[in-house]
Symmetry: C2
Subunit: 356 residues, 2 copies
Amino acid sequence: MELDDRKVKILKAIIKNYLETGEPVGSRTISKYVDLKLSPATIRNEMADLEELGYIVQPHTSAGRIPTDKGYRFYVDDMMATKEAELVVKENELTDREKELDSMKEFLNEKVDRVEELLQNVAKVLAKDTNYATMVTTPQVKGNRLKFVQLSQLEPNKILAVIVMEGNLIRNKVITISDELSQENLLKLNILLNTTLTGLTLQEMNLGLVAKMENQAGEYTKIIKEVLDAIVETISSADNLKIYTSGATNIFKYPELSDSSKASELIYTLEEKQSLTDFVMEDEEQHGNHGIQVYIGNETPVEAMKDCSVVTATYELQDGMKGTIGIIGPKRMDYEKVVEKLKTIQTQLDDVFKKT
Amino acid sequence: MELDDRKVKILKAIIKNYLETGEPVGSRTISKYVDLKLSPATIRNEMADLEELGYIVQPHTSAGRIPTDKGYRFYVDDMMATKEAELVVKENELTDREKELDSMKEFLNEKVDRVEELLQNVAKVLAKDTNYATMVTTPQVKGNRLKFVQLSQLEPNKILAVIVMEGNLIRNKVITISDELSQENLLKLNILLNTTLTGLTLQEMNLGLVAKMENQAGEYTKIIKEVLDAIVETISSADNLKIYTSGATNIFKYPELSDSSKASELIYTLEEKQSLTDFVMEDEEQHGNHGIQVYIGNETPVEAMKDCSVVTATYELQDGMKGTIGIIGPKRMDYEKVVEKLKTIQTQLDDVFKKT
DNA sequence: GTTAGCACTCATTCTTTTAGAGTGCTAATA
DNA sequence: TATTAGCACTCTAAAAGAATGAGTGCTAAC
């Protein structure tokens, strides 16, 4: 059997209606809902076919149909394709979107200083806006270059290292050293570090270089080593990835997710963040079209989210630093709106970061 | 009517049993539970009295009794009084506690570098340990002194200010300036700032001083102003108070809190943090005995927590920087254990911070 | 190929029944 | 006089039963 034109129309109608109501949809509903002028009985036949094809199921014998993951997948793929086509046409219709964009930009600009605060705000706003849960990662430094290091004396045996990367990513690290260090030597160390390391990526700080530096440092080999370790630890991406979540409690708005055990598991996942990290890692490998990716139900790599859908977008700073924004909602989320929002934010962030 | 000795015994037994089971407790249960050798009938009479006195209620006519807030309050007050007395006696029985303390200290020491990470861990461990939700605030700088400021050029019109307070509290702030600044002038500014401000509290950086500085800065008045604003903003306590929460999903372990709407509200409060801030602010005024404070039900200043109890403890760093640790659970939480744990952590943190 | 009609299924809701826990009161007991 | 045994009574929670209605699948007619 084939998915002919009429079946597609009916399938889309079923899914659309289900997205709106969250209730299984019956043949009568569809016969009114769609412009095909068909009787419920005919729709029923088509529905039986669609069920056989695996796009929809009945929760129980005497209920209407709801989409399967395969059904959602079809719907989303179709939507993404249409969107692409539309975009080419609608170039001039951008005013609405631009307005929204501007109002958001204003908000975002308030706090550009602190990337992290900004991202936290993105998560918050997006959650409030969509009524889903959100996550935003800090940008991943991959091949990002060191701008400078600044060592300062904190206490006799403690040094504060301020590490600044391209893109103004700043990290502090307190290093406890075994031997004391004079002010003068600290200065020397500072210069040595900066002349040697400035402009390098983590990958380029290889063994030879380190050996050379340790050589030059003379009696301070040990300290250099500690400082270098700190730098590596600090800028190595694993340790660097922070995830901000927001709107976890939005899931209570969707009955299919809000029973105690599911909600608990899901919120725990959002709070605990470890599995989100895994998710983001895997996600990175995927991203193709527009950097927007949709995971439906079991497609997510995280067990706790198998009743959810997740839509992710990558954003990019200058210097190729990439981060991920994700929206977590029920499978019947408003994919269209979500994708739209994500695209807006994407443009938005690109703008903010590129301009600054 | 008076609370005679026997009534107290029975009341305590009721509450203790209720803490364990979470079920209304009946006369038969108590007649076995307590060593009074009284028949259920007698207990019933006493219970009727206790109800009249407002310490317990029946959820419905044919159920056992559960404690009222007043009942809990009595229980907790009594417990705290007893604990105090015990402490004097048990000086030598500390080994057990000390062991626990040591194992925790080891863990805590791993990451002393980053106070914030440490505190986040405290929240996490405590939540896992107690099965309640927890919150931990960053220490409040009150009359804390500036150790030094370090300005570095980030980009032509951007300066990175690293602000270090006594107790090694570090803050970064990116300042966007309107006019460019030469390397040399940056150095001058650095020196000016440090000679003038080092060792001062926020309160001491008053108007006269600022005026004087601005005077000395000559044409850089504007920049000085911006830097100062940044410093003030950065170390002023309102902006500084961060709250880490953990174990929010633990509340699902207690049926009386885990129905959808209550859970949602509570978790939202924990995620959103604004009302927690208010809580902590109010809490600060209270703290008397041992810095441990118990809020039962409506005693909490936060509406969303009126079905919970909250136990808070203050911890103290050197230099009088104080923070708060809170445990949020159902009213029938194990107060004894919670207080014990908090005291351990208190000692613990004191230790870690004083030694470093 | 489409549709009207009808018997059938099954979740949901409401009602009824039952079981059991626990009480309050009264009268007997020590 | 304080305690206790006994019993009728209350009320919840769980189980069982009945009614409702949405929606289906199938058959036969159009």
